[in-house]
Symmetry: C2
Subunit: 321 residues, 2 copies
């Protein structure tokens, strides 16, 4: 792994003006129903209330603010299962530059429509995120554009602003549970929380049906793994070295939750918070239910990272309950 | 009808410190998918992002800030199908006073649980809102408490703060569509919008299966009507004189939308905004689809007044599409 310095709280503070030029802090609400269910004081950080429905837009805005004139002219190129792409499309739109986004075949149609609605060019390519990513990186080079990797440090610093919002608004938070796809959210959150108060436990969670990041974190090696989760926001097959390094330094634990428990968590969010969570967004609640004993009586924040669940998935999840 | 002076923009401005002591402004987002569907520039005012999931909490906070010491000691008494009750319960909790709330039999269980989660005493009484209301008003008097009617001026001024937020954030808004239950939201919105810019069209909407307020507005007479809508937030059987008077002064139009179109609008919100709207919350979108021709090319704000749809209703709405 690399020897570059890791991003710090300084980078998150520096990202704030770029993020808050376009966005407002998201709500952090306590929920009596979830608290009763888990036996803890449960708060939800509503990143699903972003204009794009997910936390990643914070990172895109920070990245777009740091482009050179050449990069602005060449435009942004990236690959995404949806939320990162919406982030890049949103940042490009408000910055007046072009965005080209490769998505895997079968990508969430609502997310694709949202990217196009933001003015991005969306191209379907390959069976999964990693295939789309390799292809679009080559396209970017060919067209003199700026390829945006999903775990760039400017993205981590940008998304870390929600971690900072949590600790500023609820200074006595004891546990934060955050989902992991490529890891930028878990990195940003843990850098913010641990730099301010090392006693805050930050626990990451991922689908057991896509465990590459969790296995890499546990073993200290970069290991790929099978990927067959329905939750595209955490559907990582090939791990990322830079976010692994940060997570090994900062995270207290990293757990896996079964897709069936993620679906149950989506139903519980609808019932108790009246929010639509996508799979990745419900991972934190699924993990909290699994970790009930460890959380008992504690002040816990669940990051509801995104709400962009397709209607087809929602219908099937409600039918099979 | 009464000759009392109507509330004005002054009352809304005066409510702001009481509202923002506990709440933040809610998001106002544009949605490309809805804009395409309606053929207008469509924005959504996210009152479903309130801690109680609905706009009414703004009014409760303004009312609680104006109680006498005697009223604080006696506690608050009210009747509600859910959102007004959550508002009173929330305001009572943050103000350190007791709340007793009568709900009709069969009330939305999620809303009842939320009121209890906020510490309120909830009592089931009668078949509909109006029956529960008469009973609890007598209870309040017997116990020396403060009965809170659903259309008190302090409530109208408090909820009017979201109307002001709309016009401040999007000064060139041309049309605002707002649902009507008892009418406090439509009154607050139209007072704010029309006082600032009389050219803004404010259009109210209600379920065709509960048309009492719309028929009263059209006829200039207070007429009760049948009430059989599934959308408890707009399920008014007996009209309210004070909100009628304000609406007759300020509203540009008042339309009815069928329950089946409200259900379709709930599905469209899930698909295009990824937000759970309750029936009352989706009325504005249903009305916009009905008024497409009038709205063509305009800048339109739809008030998504609340998101507290029960899981049972959601399941049935998704199954029957």
């Amino acid at each position: 792994m690399t020897n570059q310095p890791m991003p710090t709280l300084h980078n998150i503070l520096a990202a704030r003006p770029h993020v808050y030029r376009h966005l407002k802090p998201t709500p952090l609400f306590p929920y009596a129903g979830l608290s009763q269910l888990i036996g803890a004081e449960v708060w939800v950080k509503h990143e699903n209330h972003q204009p794009t429905g997910a936390f990643k837009v914070r990172g895109g805005l920070n990245l777009a603010a740091h482009l050179t004139p050449e990069e602005r002219r060449g435009g942004l190129f990236t690959a995404s299962t949806g939320n990162h792409g919406q982030s890049v499309a949103y940042a490009a739109k408000v910055s007046g530059i072009r965005a080209t986004i490769a998505v895997p075949e079968g990508a969430n149609p609502g997310k694709v429509a949202a990217m196009r609605g933001l003015g991005a060019e969306v191209i379907f390519h390959g069976a999964d995120f990693d295939t789309a990513r390799e292809w679009i990186a080559a396209e970017a080079e060919e067209h003199g554009g700026r390829f945006v990797g999903p775990t760039e440090e400017l993205l981590i610093a940008g998304v870390g602003t929600y971690g900072l919002e949590i600790v500023e608004e609820l200074p006595d938070v004891e546990v934060i549970i955050v989902p992991v796809g490529a890891g930028s959210g878990a990195c940003g959150t843990s850098i913010a929380a641990k730099s301010i108060n090392p006693n805050i436990q930050v626990i990451a969670a991922q689908s057991a049906q896509a465990p590459a990041m969790q296995r890499s974190w546990q073993s200290g090696q970069l290991v790929s793994a099978e990927m067959r989760t329905f939750a595209e926001g955490v559907a990582t097959r090939v791990p990322f070295a830079n976010t692994q390094r940060i997570m090994r330094h900062y995270l207290d634990d990293f757990v896996l939750v079964d897709d069936s428990d993620i679906k149950q968590a989506i139903r519980l969010h609808l019932e108790h918070t009246h929010n639509l969570a996508e799979g990745a967004g419900a991972v934190s609640l699924a993990a909290a239910l699994q970790l009930k004993d460890r959380l008992a009586g504690k002040k816990v924040v669940l990051v509801l990272s995104g709400g962009n669940l397709s209607t087809a998935n929602l219908r099937s999840i409600l039918q099979n309950s």
